[in-house]
Amino acid sequence: MEQQQSLWQFMAQQSDKLLDQTITHIGLTCISLLIAVAIGLPLGIWIAQRNKAAWIVLGIAGILQTIPSIALLGFMIPLLGIGSLPAIAALFLYALLPVIRNTYTGITGVDPAITESARGMGMNKWQVLTSVELPLAMPVILAGIRTATVINVGVATLAAYIAAGGLGEFIFGGIALNNTNMILSGAIPAALLAIILDFLLSLIQKTNLKRMRKVAVVLPALLILLSSFYIFPNAQKKMLGGFTPEFMGREDGYLGLKFKYKLNIPTVVISDAVMYKAAFEKKIDVISGYSTDGRLKAYDLVTLVDDQTIFPPYYAAPLVRQEMLNKYPELEPALDLLSGQINDSIMTELNYRVDYLKQLPEKVALDFLMDKKLYKQPQNGSAGTIRLGSKIFAEQYILINMYKMLIEGNTNLKVVTRTGLGGTKICFDALTNNEIDLYPEYTGTGLLVILKPTKTQLDQIIGSREKVFNFVKKEFQDQYELNWLKPIGFNNAYALMMRRSQAQSLKIKTITDLKVYSDKNSK
């Protein structure tokens, strides 16, 4: 393709996007923080006088804090949909605990002799609170707000998963695309942001006790100012695309759509985990799905025909370290048992059972192997250990469960699984760093994400399934000593998808139809 870009070049080239993401990031952080302070501070003050309530409130806030951030964002979707609203709500919940707890600790930590003498001189409750308790507790409260700020800058990167934007778009896009510059373009500004906001707050915290009384005015003003940079994303446009960070940065993804089809629709970045549901709920109209995804069936979506072939074939096959194949010759035949067994519709059905019917991948894998009479009781062997990895989606879970059963049933080898390795880059690095021995990979991904061939090489092979497979098999063997075994059969290629009802009513069948429709309506 092109020679390696430097980080600076990347950032300069993407400066518009970077600025936009940074502003969104600051906005998400500050708005959620402002709400957290507006609610957490009075709540902390209130519980400081009520021991029982304190226990309950701090307990609940503590539990909220322990929910993994991505899970919390996930919980928000059924309630608040996608976009900035659920992101801000989740960030707010994270910021709540440090704010409440430090307010509570700060106020209960004020020397009782001081508050008593305040009351003894004739101050009423409100006067004691505003002239004594709050100013004296302010350093502790500010420490809590600082903690909350740093947490929120970090967690806000995850907002990219639910189409709320922010620097996470680059970070997760970069991870998905194996593009270090892109990761750093998101990660470095995020880190700087955390440091700068923390530093600004530390300046306020260091002011002496007397000036502390003015903090009550300065702090909200500062937060509102920072928040005001952020404008909520515009209301729903006519046709909105929701694409994964990975899709947004790929030649065979959004870039190709723009280049080859000249498709130009407004887009948001969204996580694969919530994309289908968001399309179903009409939050977005066009998504970048996978053609065998079970949710296609579950949410009644249709794929648009790739009439100008920008999406290369994505045949799944086990990608194995050659060293292991040499060491355990019995491994390859066991893995090859699955070859040719699963076509697109079977895979979609299996995925549907896991994604939508919520059956366990183990059970789905077992049922399938039983059905095909490939299942054998595990031999509980001890000849060696094979480590299986998978990316985080149902299909991969199903496949590695099948491989586990096949290996353990047909060989003397033991299997351990490392599931939930974020994306292609993480799986691939785990493989080359000898953390895992194999994982199911797709030819198109291997070609475009890992090998990154030149444009001429690409044009020669992209249309043909066999050429792509042979190319990646050879290059992986030469460059990484990794072996692509026989493909399983199905082709899980990228596809654009729409709700069936909408596609039918607008008579959109191909991506070209979509382009024609969106051009007509944007004028």
Partner: protein, 318 residues
């Protein structure tokens, strides 16, 4: 004047103060004396309603304290809390101005009054008004706490172990200043302490408490020479001689003192106790010293021998 009638305080069914009554006369100082947990601080705090009495009636200058909101009541009662209770984030001047601001005095009046008070307490406003409590010594903090309680010239002053946090030497010095402050002489004071010596020096009357009840009320002289029971007697058994000498005032034996030699300067007045007189004599290494009677300005002489004779005579008469 403070009048407490049959007041009790019950915490979780346990009486902390059990049906006590007392009266502090106009311009007098009454000391609530007792060991920790005897209910003396609870009693004090019931007077300004920091603790609400469970039962009983309290009047200040004839007015029922429950007739107003507690905040309003407290603004007219000077209060010095344990460990001074100064606001660390307020300057000396701001600390003193708290009550005047609550009473909505105008700024000029507050400044003038603060300056006067600081002057009286030997802490020049120029130097100290803008300092923070952390920059002051323990004794200085205590003076500011006192100034804060006195600033609005309340008729009644409540003090909870006001010198408790100070070392013995600073403590004695501040007590002396305290006694000599003209502002304080007009005040009705209720003071809590566990320090017997302090009670004897400061109290016109002493109220000895134990387990929530008053065991005996009287002057220091009455308590030590006419103890109501063994508890009172035992309470003062430690340092008895010093306490006896502290309880006796020169004015009580005025007639028996030899007339003064008028070339002598009068360094004491008749309110001094035997103990104080002896201390001064021994400190200055003098045989005898002049004393002036505050009431009629007559003068007498004291010497260790005279004091000893007077003391022995009193002991014999009991």
């Amino acid at each position: 004047m403070i009048l407490a009638k049959n007041i009790s305080k019950i915490f979780n069914n346990i009486p902390a103060v059990n049906d006590i009554s007392f009266e502090v006369k106009e311009s007098h100082t009454m000391v609530l004396l007792g060991t920790s947990g005897c209910g003396k601080t609870t009693t004090l705090k019931m007077i300004n309603r920091l603790i609400e009495a469970s039962s009983g009636k309290i009047f200040i200058n004839g007015k029922d304290i429950f007739s107003d909101k507690p905040e309003i009541l407290r603004r007219n009662i000077g209060y010095v809390s344990q460990n001074n209770g100064l606001f660390p984030h307020f300057t000396v001047a701001e600390n003193i101005a708290i009550v005047p601001k609550l009473l909505k005095w105008d700024q000029q009046k507050i400044i003038k009054r603060t300056k006067d008070l600081l002057h009286q307490l030997k802490l020049p406003a120029q130097e100290y008004a803008n300092k923070y409590p952390d920059q002051l010594s323990g004794g200085q903090k205590q003076r500011i706490a006192l100034a804060r309680a006195l600033v609005s010239d309340p008729p009644v002053l409540l003090m909870d172990e006001p010198f408790g946090a100070l070392d013995p030497i600073t403590r004695a010095g501040i007590r002396k200043e305290f006694l000599e402050l003209p502002e304080l002489k007009r005040k009705t004071v209720l003071l809590v302490t566990h320090d017997v010596q302090e009670a004897f020096e400061l109290g016109d009357e002493i109220c000895l408490m134990d387990k929530g009840s008053i065991i005996q009320t009287g002057t220091s002289e009455e308590l030590i020479f006419k103890p109501a029971n063994d508890f009172v007697r035992n309470f003062f058994s430690h340092q008895r001689l010093q306490l006896e000498l502290s309880s006796l005032k020169l004015k009580s034996v005025w007639e028996e003192l030899p007339d003064a030699n008028f070339s002598e300067k009068a360094e004491m007045n008749s309110n001094y106790s035997f103990w104080e007189a002896m201390e001064i004599l021994s400190e200055k290494k003098l045989e005898h010293l002049g004393v002036v009677n505050e009431n009629d300005q007559t003068r007498k002489t004291v010497s260790l021998a005279v004091i000893q004779a007077a003391y022995l005579k009193i002991k014999q008469n009991i």
